[in-house]
């Protein structure tokens, strides 16, 4: 069978993902874009999203959220002020997004990296350690991401 990559606009795909998550399912999707480097690579990795109650979203979670009408990002929550969330991609040097906790479509629970069938779960030591180290290295992101781009991509 011929394999073909269909580029589906986010607004359509995420509409379907939203439907699935609202129905209580989890949804797996392929990552698009580089804003969650180093951990997640565009087109290579798959993320599993699960339903989440708005009030349960917390700092460090990776969420799929609607930051403007039909504009979605899969980024990390870096700040919470009441219902207002500030998001930032792990692979972004600056630039944050704001949304409400009710704009969160789903929360990342597992990452299938490099074609592996065994996922890295967000409650694993590996992910928690990565998160701590990566967030602590935020002032050096530009340099690390630059080296990564030159050496590994």
């Amino acid at each position: 069978m011929q394999e073909r990559v269909i580029e589906v606009p986010n607004s359509v795909l995420i509409g379907e993902i939203k439907k699935a998550i609202r129905a209580g399912h989890t949804a797996t999707l392929r990552v698009k874009g580089f804003s969650m480097r180093l951990f997640l690579e565009s087109q290579r990795d798959i993320v599993k999203l699960a339903p989440v109650r708005p009030e349960a979203v917390k700092v460090r979670d990776v969420v799929l959220a609607e930051i403007a009408k039909d504009h979605y990002v899969l980024h990390r929550v870096i700040r919470r002020d009441g219902a207002r969330l500030t998001l930032m991609g792990d692979g972004n040097i600056r630039g944050t997004e704001q949304c409400l906790d009710t704009d969160v479509v789903g929360i990342a629970t597992e990452f299938y990296r490099k074609g592996r069938t065994k996922p890295d779960r967000v409650d694993s030591l590996k992910w928690r350690l990565y998160s701590s180290v990566w967030l602590a290295l935020k002032p050096m992101r530009r340099i690390i991401l630059g080296v990564y781009r030159r050496v590994f991509v």
């Binding site: 269909i6 999707l29 392929r30």
Partner: protein, 88 residues
């Protein structure tokens, strides 16, 4: 032969695609695109037992093709569905 449980035909962006909608997880990372005639066949036999003969008859009802072509296409369709793991 039957379409496996847990697969659903949906319209995504004007494309007819089959998505794995398990009890728990819906897999959007692998979507199988069907052309118009395959989507028609899928809808006609969803939830039913079928074989190449039945698919060929369905094609004959809908399209102006001769019996041999319809049967060959039906067999090809079954083969590719089996290969994708969406029918058994």
């Amino acid at each position: 032969m039957k379409i496996k449980k847990g697969f659903e035909l949906r319209d995504v962006c004007g494309e007819k695609v089959v998505i794995a909608t398990g009890i728990e997880n819906v897999d959007f990372s692998k979507m199988i695109s069907l052309n118009e005639s395959a989507a028609y066949l899928w809808q006609a036999v969803e939830g039913k037992e079928f074989d190449a003969r039945l698919l060929a008859d369905l094609l004959l009802q809908e399209y102006e093709v001769d019996d041999a072509t319809a049967l060959a296409d039906a067999e090809k369709t079954i083969e590719s569905w089996r290969e994708c793991g969406i029918a058994e």
